[in-house]
């Protein structure tokens, strides 16, 4: 029985310890906002935060996690879609099909947490998630907008 801390709640899960976090989130805990895209940590649709850092949960066995590791999924990013990244995404109508967007939003939120005013180069380096619809132009603009929102709130 593994113990996981997800979105501030404790879960006891009874699975093979080699099961990737993605599938524990989706199939044991019932949080389906985190998506399966490739299973080999290439596309980023499964991105979650582990202790504030963006991690690709499809290639992260739960055996690699401690009970104290704080896991945050898209459902736990904010209670009411009020995170600056979510607000900016809404303002610029970023998503198209939306399937990759949970991962994009989590990656962007982690970037802004470590780099509050990212340059385009910072964005290029940090945002390696695949979007097949092609929302990259709006993702870039929305990250800059989210930085503005966050910095205004902070100020």
């Amino acid at each position: 029985m593994a113990k996981l801390n997800v979105n501030g709640r404790q879960f006891d899960v009874d699975v093979d310890p080699e099961t990737p976090l993605l599938w524990v989130l989706r199939e044991q805990i019932g949080l389906t906002g985190t998506k399966y895209g490739c299973g080999i940590a290439q596309c980023g649709a499964c991105t979650v935060h582990v202790n504030g850092e963006a991690q690709r949960s499809c290639a992260l066995p739960i055996s690699a996690l401690e009970e104290t590791d704080e896991i945050v999924t898209i459902e736990g990013l904010s209670p009411d879609s009020s995170h600056p990244v979510q607000r900016a995404w809404l303002e610029l109508d970023v998503p198209q099909c939306g399937y990759c967007q949970s991962g994009q939003i989590m990656a962007a939120a982690a970037l802004l947490a470590s780099t509050p005013e990212p340059t385009d180069e910072d964005i290029d380096a940090a945002m390696t998630n695949i979007c097949r619809c092609g929302t990259y132009q709006r993702i870039r603009a929305a990250i800059h907008l989210a930085a503005d929102y966050a910095n205004k709130n902070a100020g």
């Binding site: 080999i40 649709a45 390696t128 619809c133 092609g134």
Partner: protein
């Protein structure tokens, strides 16, 4: 099988294939009168099939097409709301089910969503649905007040009797309105008077895409549901020979190992991860079938033979005597191009949940054609369509892939073996990559004749390669010719497949059909993509050979094509063509027409210190006639650049032993944000026609960049992807 069953299935099959191929369907769907029973899920008064109004004044607009990111849901709702004169902030949407459409004699018309047709081919009847509902709601209010309807006006769902000043709302009169006869005459607004349509309204489906709440098909959870992973024979045309069930039957969670048709095997387990883990451990032997000797090399030879052959050749467009023109040429230019097979690679892998009982079969699915899903469900279930139902979910990407229903069939074939238990079958990314419906592989040979003035007097454009329709919809062939193969190259402005934008006195565009065993499909933009690359890069070659500016060279040939020319000029002007670019920046230009819309692009590229190219900017002009949502049009243009350039930069599916080689995103790479140029959309809607927008601009992204690469490097790239040329 009953007669009715057969007929309806044939109807579905025609509808499905036509849809995905961008063919115009010949039927007209009128807005229909309300029926007593509201058959969709929302409560409220169904004024007509498109409009349901709730007592709190919320308006539910029915959307028959599928939302896969392209924004059709919002655009169609805008068109209905515009005529309805309702409060946009109170608009919600819902999908009628394909089973309801069948039961109600297709009152919602065609549900298929492909060929950039979602809005342009349903706009008239959905607008009439909104307008008729408005007239009936006003009439109901007038009846209640015993006044003439002509004395009443409506704004944002509030009806006012002008002489008395009395007001009521749509929510209050909807039930009475639903009892009225629909009006015989339903005039529509002139688009210049639009207040909701034509405006950059926010999408209606964004909020749930930001917090993980949207339930995609892959997220479906039903009571008692089990999960299935599948492997189908990777060698196209091969079969399942054997598997060793005993080796995995004791693995955690495993419940069943099922044969799926003659070609596949599925493991059913408590969770999908358990099913996939067990399937990966399952010893399987494949019968590689009759195509095990086929490789990319043998296919390339087949296509190469077609470049100069007289066998199996079909003419798509012709004028004058091209042979004579080439003999008389002052200068002859010749080039051979090629593009590979391509998988759609939707972010959400193929998946479908199915529940089968002897009396009924239901599927939960992301489909570009719900009616084709119903037909596939019916066939695999062995039940008439009246005993089947399809619950549509928003798609995690479609791009043409989800017009095909193989993933529905396989899920139903699994569920049928475990009656009463819902089975969610998810394809792994590897399965999705191996079992695509691939953009067909082609090569092209172009030979141009220039006279002593450097004017183009003749062009022979020979395409050699695979036909989609021959494999997918033989009924769409015309005397053996695949008209879809000539997308953007047809002589007639009335062609549904796109008009060639140049007048060349001696012209021959023909297709040596060379079909492979690889299953082809409609890949966003379809044959426009490669046709535009071949033609527009070669036009650039001709311009340079003639010593002329590529824009001026084209303009001289476009006098009879004012719409093509206008967008080319619009792109050139916005990009500053003719003015010196910034130092180290090089430009390329092109134009193409498809899906009823005219497109042109100017690309700006520069070289990085390591010799790789950077695409800095793409200016794309588009004339789609009437623009329903300018912001979503821009979003589609931006997205089309990613889809087109991702293919041009990185993507190919190669063949070994009759199967695809690439299995995941590590070898089938996508464009990333670091590669994204600044995209400037120049929307020049000239009015008077309805063009598509989901696909047409893909065709101009790659040729503009390839022509700019030539300007930057002097290197003419004639085969894709660019990763093989050391440029990305």
């Amino acid at each position: 099988m009953s007669e009715r069953h057969r007929i309806s299935r044939r109807g579905f099959i025609v509808g499905s294939a036509a849809a995905a191929g961008g063919l115009a369907l010949g039927f007209h769907v009128p807005f229909a009168a309300a029926q007593t029973a509201s058959s969709t899920t929302s409560e409220g008064a169904e004024v007509n099939v498109w409009v349901l109004i709730q007592p709190n004044d919320d308006v539910v607009i029915r959307i028959a097409r599928s939302e896969m990111g392209q924004g059709t849901l919002t655009g169609l709702a805008q068109l209905v709301a515009e005529e309805l004169e309702c409060d946009w902030s109170k608009v919600k949407t819902e999908y009628p089910t394909p089973g309801q459409n069948l039961a109600r004699k297709r009152v919602w018309g065609d549900m298929s969503t492909g060929g950039s047709r979602g809005i342009r081919q349903s706009q008239e009847y959905v607008r009439k649905g909104g307008a008729a509902a408005r007239m009936m709601l006003i009439q109901a209010a007038a009846n209640a007040w015993s006044v003439p309807a002509s004395e009443c006006v409506v704004e944002k769902g509030v009806i006012t009797h002008k002489p008395s000043g009395r007001t009521t709302t749509y929510g209050k009169v909807a039930a009475a309105a639903a009892q009225l006869e629909p009006p015989a005459e339903v005039p529509l607004k002139d688009p210049k008077d639009w207040k909701i349509a034509g405006k950059p309204m926010k999408r209606l489906d964004t909020a749930e895409k930001l917090n993980g709440k949207l339930v995609y098909a892959i997220d479906v959870k039903l009571p008692g549901m089990l999960n299935a992973a599948i492997k189908d024979c990777p060698h196209f045309g091969g079969k399942l020979k054997s598997y060793d069930e005993a080796a995995i039957k004791n693995m955690p969670g495993v419940r069943h190992v099922l044969k799926i048709g003659e070609t596949g095997v599925a493991v059913v387990a408590d969770t999908w991860w358990q099913a996939k883990t067990a399937l990966d451990a399952l010893p399987i032997e494949w019968d590689e079938g009759p195509n095990a000797d086929v490789s990319s090399e043998t296919i390339a030879e087949l296509l190469k033979e077609g470049l100069d052959s007289n066998e199996g050749v079909f003419v798509g467009n012709q004028a004058g005597d091209v042979k004579a023109a080439l003999e008389k040429a002052a200068k002859k230019v010749e080039a051979v191009y090629g593009t590979p097979f391509l998988n759609h690679a939707c972010m959400e892998p193929m998946n479908c949940t199915a529940k089968w009982t002897p009396d009924r079969c239901e599927v939960w699915v992301a489909s570009q054609n719900g009616e084709a899903s119903l037909a596939a469900c019916s066939e695999a279930a062995g039940l008439p369509p009246e005993k089947c139902e399809v619950y549509k979910h928003h798609l995690g990407g479609g791009f043409g892939r989800r017009g095909f229903q193989d993933y529905v069939t396989k899920a139903v074939l699994a569920a049928k073996q475990i009656p009463g238990v819902p089975i969610k079958m998810i394809w792994s990314r590897e399965e999705d990559m191996l079992h695509g419906r691939f953009r067909p592989i082609t090569q092209a040979k172009l030979v141009g004749a220039l006279d002593e003035n450097g004017d183009l007097t003749g062009l022979h454009f020979r395409i050699s390669g695979q036909s989609i329709l021959a494999a997918v919809r033989p009924a769409g062939m015309q005397d053996g010719m695949d008209p879809l193969h000539f997308q953007g190259l047809h002589a007639s402005a009335d062609s549904p497949f796109g008009q060639f934008g140049y007048t060349i006195p001696n012209l021959l565009i023909d297709h040596a059909m060379r079909n492979t065993h690889v299953p082809p499909g409609f890949w966003r933009g379809v044959n426009h993509n490669q046709n535009a690359i071949y033609l527009e890069c070669f036009m650039d070659e001709l311009a340079h050979a003639a010593g002329k500016d590529p824009l001026e060279f084209r303009r001289k040939l476009m006098g009879n094509h004012p719409k093509h020319l206008a967008v080319l000029n619009a792109a050139a002007e916005k990009a500053g063509w003719g003015t010196p670019p910034p130092e180290g920046v090089y430009r390329g230009i092109c134009q193409h027409m498809g899906f009823g819309s005219y497109c042109a692009a100017v690309a700006e590229v520069s070289l990085k210190p390591d010799g790789k190219i950077k695409v800095n900017r793409l200016v794309i002009a588009v004339d789609c006639g009437i623009a329903v949502n300018p912001d979503q049009i821009a979003a589609q243009v931006e997205g089309s650049v990613v889809y087109g350039l991702g293919a041009a930069f990185f993507q190919e599916n190669t063949v070994e032993k009759g199967r695809m080689v690439q299995e995941n995103f590590d070898t089938f790479e996508s464009l990333l944000i670091e590669h994204m140029p600044k995209v400037e959309t120049v929307l020049v809607p000239s009015g008077g026609f309805w063009g598509g927008i989901g696909e047409p601009t893909i065709a101009v992204a790659a040729p503009a960049v390839l022509n700019a690469i030539f300007a930057a490097t002097g290197k003419r790239i004639r085969t894709l992807p660019l990763k093989h040329h050391g440029l990305v």
